[in-house]
C-alpha cells in the first residue's frame, strides 16, 4: 500500500486523458450521421430543419459555457493548489463574496436565456402553424404497430368509403406537407420520425397535431418512443416519401378492393385458410368486412393491421422484419436481415406486380409458423398475434395468397 499514491497518480492521468479523448470522439461522432437512419441530427424536412436551426446555436452556447466553466475550474485547480512546503498556517485572503459579481452572473445567464427564449417561442409558433394544401393522416398507435388513415376525400373523416386505412408504413408525396393527427387505440405511444420532425405522443382519447414534410423521396425510419409495454422496442415504422406521381398511383391502388378468386389454385387455398383463421382479426377490403373496432378507447387490441395491400409495404410486424429484399443507395441488393435499410417493394408499391423472387419468404413463413416467438407479444390478453399452429402446407398456401395482395 506504500506505492498506492503513485498508482493513484497514474490512474488520475489515465482517467483524465481517457475522458478528454472520449469527449473529443463523441463530438466528432455527432457530426457523422451517415448510415444512422434514426438520427435527429440530419434533418430532411422543414420541421426538422427549423429544430436543427435552433439546436446549433443553443448547443454552441452550452458548449462555450461548459468550456469556460471547465477551463476556469482547471485553471483554478492548477493555479491555487496547495504547493508542497508551504506553511499550513498560511491562509489565502478570506473573501466572503462580492455582490456586484453575484448580480452580474445572475443577470448575464438570464440575458442569454432570454435570447434563447425568443428563438424558442418563434420556433414553437412556426412548428404549430398549419401548412396549406396538406394531406390529413390520422396515426394511431396500437400495441405494437402503427395504423394510418388518410382522409383522401377531404371530408374531415378518416373512415369514409373514399379514405385509406393502412399500417406500418406511411406513404407520402415528397415536398408536400402532411398534417398528422396522433392518437392511440390502447396505451400511450409516441410517433417519431427523427428526420422529419420531433415526436408527438399518441394518447388514447386525445388527438394531437404533428406536421411532417419530406423534401426528397426516400425512406425515413421511426421508432415508438413512449414506453408502451412488452414489445415497445419492436414498435417501429417508416415514412416512404415518393414522387407525387407515384403517390397518386399509390392512392389509386389503395382505394381498390379485392374481389374474385386468385387465379393460382394454391393461393385460392390460401384464401380459404385466411378466411377461416386470419379474418378473425385482420381485414382485407372486399373479402371480409369485419368491422374494425373503431378506437373507442381503450381497446384491448384485438384489431390487427389491414392487409388489403400488404405487398405494397416493404416491412411488416411493426416494421421489424423486411417483407422484401432491401436495396442500397447504390442500387445493389442488401441482406434480407438488414431491417434498418427497409425492404423495397419496387413497382408493387403502386399496385404493380409482386416480384416474388424478392419477397422475404423465410421470415414471412417463420412469422406465420409462430409469431410470438418472433416478437414478444401478449396474445392471451388479446394483444398481438397468436401462434395459429398452421401446417407447413397451410403456410405455403397462405404465403401464395398474401403475395397476391399488391
Amino acid at each position: 500500500m506504500q506505492r498506492l499514491p503513485k498508482i493513484v497518480r497514474i490512474l488520475a492521468v489515465l482517467s483524465f486523458t481517457l475522458v478528454v479523448v472520449l469527449f473529443a470522439a463523441l463530438i466528432v461522432n455527432s457530426f457523422q450521421n451517415a448510415g444512422k437512419p434514426l438520427t435527429s441530427l440530419n434533418p430532411q424536412g422543414p420541421s426538422a430543419e427549423s429544430i436543427q436551426q435552433l439546436l446549433i446555436p443553443v448547443t454552441s452556447i452550452a458548449a462555450v459555457v461548459f468550456v469556460l466553466v471547465l477551463g476556469a475550474i482547471l485553471f483554478i485547480t492548477w493555479r491555487y493548489r496547495e504547493r508542497k512546503g508551504t506553511d499550513p498556517e498560511e491562509f489565502p485572503a478570506q473573501v466572503h463574496g462580492k455582490t456586484p459579481l453575484e448580480i452580474g452572473w445572475t443577470i448575464l445567464p438570464a440575458l442569454i436565456l432570454a435570447g434563447i427564449a425568443v428563438g424558442t417561442v418563434m420556433t414553437i409558433i412556426n412548428l404549430n402553424r398549419e401548412a396549406p394544401n396538406s394531406i390529413n393522416v390520422q396515426v394511431a398507435g396500437q400495441q405494437w404497430w402503427w395504423q394510418y388513415k388518410y382522409d383522401i376525400n377531404g371530408d374531415g373523416d378518416f373512415n369514409g368509403p373514399g379514405d385509406i386505412t393502412t399500417a406500418t408504413e406511411m406513404v407520402v408525396p415528397a415536398g408536400r406537407p402532411i398534417q398528422v393527427t396522433t392518437t392511440s387505440n390502447d396505451v400511450i405511444h409516441s410517433f417519431w420520425i427523427p428526420g422529419l420532425n420531433g415526436k408527438k405522443d399518441a394518447v388514447p382519447g386525445l388527438r394531437s397535431p404533428l406536421k411532417l414534410q419530406a423534401d426528397e423521396p426516400g425512406i425515413y425510419r421511426g421508432q415508438c418512443t413512449e414506453f408502451c409495454g412488452l414489445s415497445h422496442a419492436n414498435m417501429r415504422m417508416l415514412v416512404r416519401a415518393v414522387p407525387s406521381g407515384d403517390y397518386e398511383a399509390w392512392v389509386k391502388n389503395q382505394l381498390t378492393t379485392r374481389g374474385g378468386e386468385p387465379s393460382d389454385p394454391v393461393a385460392a387455398e390460401g384464401k380459404k385458410v385466411w378466411q377461416a383463421l386470419c379474418a378473425q382479426c385482420h381485414v382485407i377490403n372486399g373479402i371480409n368486412d369485419l368491422k374494425m373496432k373503431e378506437t373507442p378507447p381503450p381497446l384491448v387490441s384485438g384489431v390487427a393491421p389491414n392487409l388489403t395491400h400488404l405487398m405494397t409495404r416493404g416491412t411488416f410486424a411493426g416494421s421489424i422484419f423486411n417483407l422484401y429484399e432491401p436495396v442500397g443507395a447504390d442500387g445493389q441488393p442488401l441482406p434480407m436481415s438488414d431491417v434498418a435499410a427497409a425492404g423495397d417493394p419496387g413497382s408493387a408499391l403502386a399496385g404493380g406486380k409482386v416480384d416474388t423472387a424478392n419477397v422475404n419468404r423465410v421470415t414471412l413463413e417463420a412469422w406465420l409458423r409462430n409469431a410470438p416467438a418472433m416478437k414478444p407479444m401478449y396474445p392471451q390478453g388479446g394483444r398481438g398475434m397468436p401462434n395459429l399452429n398452421l401446417t407447413e402446407e397451410q403456410i405455403d398456401q397462405l404465403v401464395a395468397f398474401l403475395e397476391t395482395l399488391n
Binding site: L4, L22, S30, T77, G97, T182, K199
Partner: protein, 671 residues
C-alpha cells in the same frame, strides 16, 4: 430565533403523572449498545447510519440491475434478458435508485448532520424519526420482494396510465411498486415534517437562520419540497391502487378518463423530486469546498437564496416532461420559459462554488475531488437540461438516450458525486476512523472514468436516435459501438463502488494501528467538527452558542480587516471533550416505531393477496399507535427531571473564545 435547550425534548415524567401506571404497555427499552439497540433506537445518528447502510444495500441491488441492462444492450439483439424481464429490470432500477438510494442517502446525511450542524441533541420527534426509517426500509424491501412473488413492476418508474392498468399489466409487479412507494412516501413525509420542525425550532442559541450551515439550508429546502411533493404522488398512487385493486376508473379511457391526469400528477411530484434529490448534495459540497479551499463560501446569502429560488421555481416546470404529450403550444411555451429560467439560480451556485475555489489554497483530498467532480459533471447535466427546456429540441431528444445521459449527469454526476465526497468527509465523524485517502482518490478517478464512459456516449446515442426503454436494437442503426463503450463504463463504475466498499473495511482494519481521530481532522468550519469523533450520544456538552456563519472556524481563527486569518486558538482548545453525558436528557428508545412500520407492508401484502391479511396489518398498526401514544414518556428510573446544571445548557458563546478574538471578529462582513 432558536429555542434554547433548557426546554426538554420530551415530556418530563416527573411530577405531573405521579402515581400513573400506563396499562398494558411495555416499559421503554433501554439498550444503548448491541444489536438490539439498533432496532429500538431513536438516536438521529444511529438512524442516519442505518439510512446510509440501507441505501448502500439498495445501491448494490439497483447497481446489479444497471449491469444487467448494460449487458443486455452490449450488442444488437441481446438475449440475456427477455423483453418482459428487461422491462421489469429497468423499471426497478429507476425506482430503486431514486426512492431507495438517492433519497435515503440524502435522508442519511440530513438525519446525521442537521442536529449536529444546528447544535441540537436530537431531532424534534425522535420516535417519528425511527418510524420514518423503518417505514422506508420495509417499503423498499416490500417493493423488492416482488422479485420473489411473480416479478417486478414493468411500467417504468414513471408508470404512465393506462399502461399501468390491470389489462395491460396483469401481474402484481405494479401493485408492489405502487403500495411500496406509498409506504416510502409515508416515510418521507413524516421525515420531512420532523426535520422541518427540528431546523425551525431546535437551533442552538445564536444560530439564526442566516447562520445555518449551507447543508442544513439545502436539506431544509429539500424537506419542504418533500412535504408538498410526496402527497401529490401518494394521491395519484391511491387512484392507481383503487383502479387496480377495486376496479375504479380513474385512468380508464373507455369511461372518460384522461391519461394525462396521471402524467400531470406524477410530474408535479416528479420534478420537485429532482431538486429535492440534488439539493442535499449541493449543500454537502458547499461544506466541503470551503474547507479544502481554506476560505469561506463565496456569497453565502446568494447560495442560500438560489437554493430557495430553485425550491420555489421547481414547482412551475413539471410539464417540461410532457412537451410532446399533446398539451398544446401555449402550455408548451409557458413551461419552456419557466424551465429555462430555473437554470439561473442553478448557474449562480456553480459560479459561486468556482469563486469559492478562486484564490484559495486548494487541498485535493478525496472529498474535495468528488466535490470538484460534482461541479463539472453537474454543469454538463445542467446545460443539457437547458437544451431540453427548448421545447422544439426536446421534441427530438425526449425519451431518447440523450435524456438518460442528462439525468444521470444530474443525479449521478451531481447528487451521487456529492454524496461520495460527503462519505469521505464525514466518515470519521460517524465512525471514528478515517477512510483511506489514497484509496479514496483512486475511487474518485475510477468513478469519474466509469461514469463518463457509461453516460457520455448516451448523449450521442440519443441524438442519433436510440430510444429509451428498449430491450433490444437492430444492427444497422449505428448504435453498436457506443453501447459497448457504455457497458464497459458501467463495469468500471461498478468497480469504483466496490473499491469504496472495500475501503470501508480496509480502513477499519487499519484504524486499529492508528491513533484515534480527533474531532476535527479536516480543520472544519461548522460546529459539527467541535464534537468528538465518533459523535457521542448527547452530541454537544455543553451546547455551543453560535455567533456567526462557520462558527467553529472563527473559534479557531480571527480575521483581520484586510481579510487575513490569524490563529487564535488550537483545535484542542476549542473542541469539546468527551464527557460522561450525565444529566443530559435524551429521548429513550422505543419498540413502537418498528412495530408500526412493520404493519404497513402487511397491509400492503393484504391489498395484493387477500384483504384479510390487510386487516391483520391494520390491527398491528392500530395497536402500535396505541402503544406509541400510551408509552410512558421515559424510563422512570432515570432521574431526567433534572435537566442538569447550567453548564450543560450553553457555553454562552464566548466560553472558548479568547478576549483577543473579539476585536478581530468585528470586521466580519457577510456571515
Amino acid at each position: 430565533m432558536a429555542l434554547t435547550e433548557d426546554r426538554p425534548l420530551a415530556l418530563p415524567s416527573g411530577g405531573t403523572d405521579e402515581g400513573y401506571t400506563p396499562t398494558g404497555v411495555f416499559t421503554r427499552p433501554t439498550a444503548e449498545t448491541g444489536v438490539r439497540s439498533w432496532f429500538t433506537t431513536v438516536d438521529h445518528k444511529k438512524i442516519g447510519i442505518m439510512y446510509g447502510a440501507a441505501a448502500i444495500f439498495f445501491l448494490i441491488i439497483g447497481g446489479a440491475e444497471a449491469l444487467l441492462i448494460r449487458m443486455q444492450l452490449w450488442a444488437p439483439r441481446g438475449t440475456l434478458l427477455s423483453a418482459n424481464l428487461y422491462n421489469q429490470v429497468y423499471t426497478m432500477h429507476g425506482t430503486t435508485m431514486v426512492f431507495l438510494v438517492v433519497m435515503p442517502i440524502g435522508a442519511a446525511f440530513a438525519n446525521y448532520l442537521i442536529p449536529l450542524q444546528i447544535g441540537a441533541r436530537d431531532v424534534a420527534f425522535p420516535r417519528i424519526n425511527a418510524f420514518s426509517f423503518w417505514a422506508f426500509l420495509f417499503g423498499g424491501l416490500f417493493i423488492n420482494s416482488s422479485w420473489l412473488m411473480g416479478g417486478g413492476a414493468d411500467g417504468g418508474w414513471f408508470m404512465y396510465a393506462p399502461n399501468s392498468g390491470v389489462i395491460f399489466s396483469p401481474t402484481h409487479g405494479i401493485d408492489f411498486w405502487n403500495l411500496g412507494l406509498i409506504i416510502t412516501g409515508i416515510a418521507s413525509l413524516t421525515g420531512a415534517v420532523n426535520l422541518i420542525v427540528t431546523v425551525l425550532n431546535m437551533r442552538a442559541p445564536g444560530m439564526t437562520l442566516m447562520r445555518m450551515p449551507i447543508f442544513t439550508w439545502m436539506a431544509l429546502v429539500s424537506q419542504f419540497l418533500l412535504l408538498f411533493a410526496i402527497p401529490v404522488l401518494t394521491s395519484a398512487q391511491i387512484l392507481l391502487m383503487l383502479d387496480r385493486t377495486f376496479h375504479a376508473n380513474f385512468f380508464n379511457v373507455a369511461k372518460g378518463a384522461n391519461p394525462l391526469l396521471w402524467e400531470h400528477l406524477f410530474w408535479i411530484f416528479g420534478h420537485p423530486e429532482v431538486y429535492l434529490m440534488i439539493l442535499p448534495a449541493f449543500g454537502l459540497v458547499s461544506e466541503i469546498l470551503p474547507t479544502f479551499a481554506r476560505k469561506p463560501i463565496f456569497g453565502y446569502p446568494f447560495i442560500v437564496f438560489s437554493g430557495i429560488a430553485i425550491g420555489f421555481m421547481g414547482w412551475g416546470v413539471w410539464a417540461h416532461h410532457m412537451f410532446v404529450s399533446g398539451i398544446g403550444p401555449i402550455s408548451v411555451t409557458a413551461f419552456s420559459l419557466t424551465t429555462m429560467f430555473i437554470a439561473v439560480p442553478t448557474g449562480v451556485k456553480i459560479l459561486n462554488w468556482t469563486a469559492t475555489m478562486w484564490g484559495g489554497k486548494l487541498r485535493f483530498s478525496a472529498p474535495m475531488l468528488f466535490s470538484i467532480g460534482l461541479v463539472t459533471m453537474f454543469t454538463i447535466g445542467g446545460l443539457s437540461g437547458v437544451m431540453h427546456s427548448v421545447a422544439p429540441m426536446d421534441s427530438q431528444q425526449t425519451d431518447t438516450y440523450f435524456i438518460v445521459a442528462h439525468f444521470h449527469y444530474v443525479l449521478f454526476g451531481g447528487a451521487f458525486f456529492g454524496f461520495m465526497g460527503a462519505f469521505y468527509f464525514y466518515w470519521s465523524k460517524a465512525f471514528g476512523y478515517m477512510l483511506n485517502e489514497s484509496l479514496g482518490k483512486a475511487n474518485f478517478w475510477l468513478m469519474l472514468l466509469g461514469f463518463n464512459l457509461t453516460f457520455a456516449p448516451m448523449h450521442v446515442l440519443g441524438l442519433q436516435g436510440m430510444s429509451r426503454r428498449i430491450y433490444t436494437y437492430d444492427p444497422g442503426y449505428g448504435f453498436d459501438f457506443w453501447n459497448k463503450v457504455a457497458t464497459i463504463g458501467a463495469f468500471t463504475l461498478a468497480s469504483s463502488i466496490a473499491l469504496f466498499i472495500f475501503n470501508i473495511f480496509y480502513s477499519k482494519a487499519k484504524a486499529k494501528n492508528l491513533p484515534p481521530v480527533g474531532p476535527d481532522p479536516w480543520d472544519g468550519r461548522t460546529i459539527e467538527w467541535m464534537v468528538p469523533s465518533p459523535t457521542p450520544a448527547y452530541n454537544f456538552d455543553p451546547i455551543p452558542t453560535v455567533t456567526r456563519v462557520d462558527d467553529f472556524w472563527y473559534r479557531k481563527y480571527g480575521e483581520t480587516k484586510d481579510g487575513n486569518l490569524v490563529r487564535i486558538a488550537s483545535t484542542a482548545e476549542v473542541a469539546q471533550q468527551r464527557t460522561d453525558g450525565k444529566g443530559i436528557h435524551l429521548p429513550s428508545p422505543s419498540y413502537w416505531p418498528l412495530v408500526l412500520a412493520f404493519g404497513l407492508p402487511i397491509v400492503s401484502y393484504g391489498m395484493i393477496f387477500t384483504l384479510w391479511l390487510a386487516l391483520v396489518g391494520g390491527i398491528i398498526c392500530v395497536g402500535a399507535i396505541y402503544g406509541w401514544v400510551m408509552e410512558p414518556p421515559d424510563d422512570p428510573d432515570l432521574a431526567h427531571d433534572d435537566h442538569g446544571p447550567d453548564a450543560h445548557v450553553s457555553d454562552g458563546g464566548d466560553a472558548a473564545i479568547p478576549e483577543t478574538a473579539e476585536s478581530l471578529m468585528e470586521v466580519e462582513t457577510v456571515g
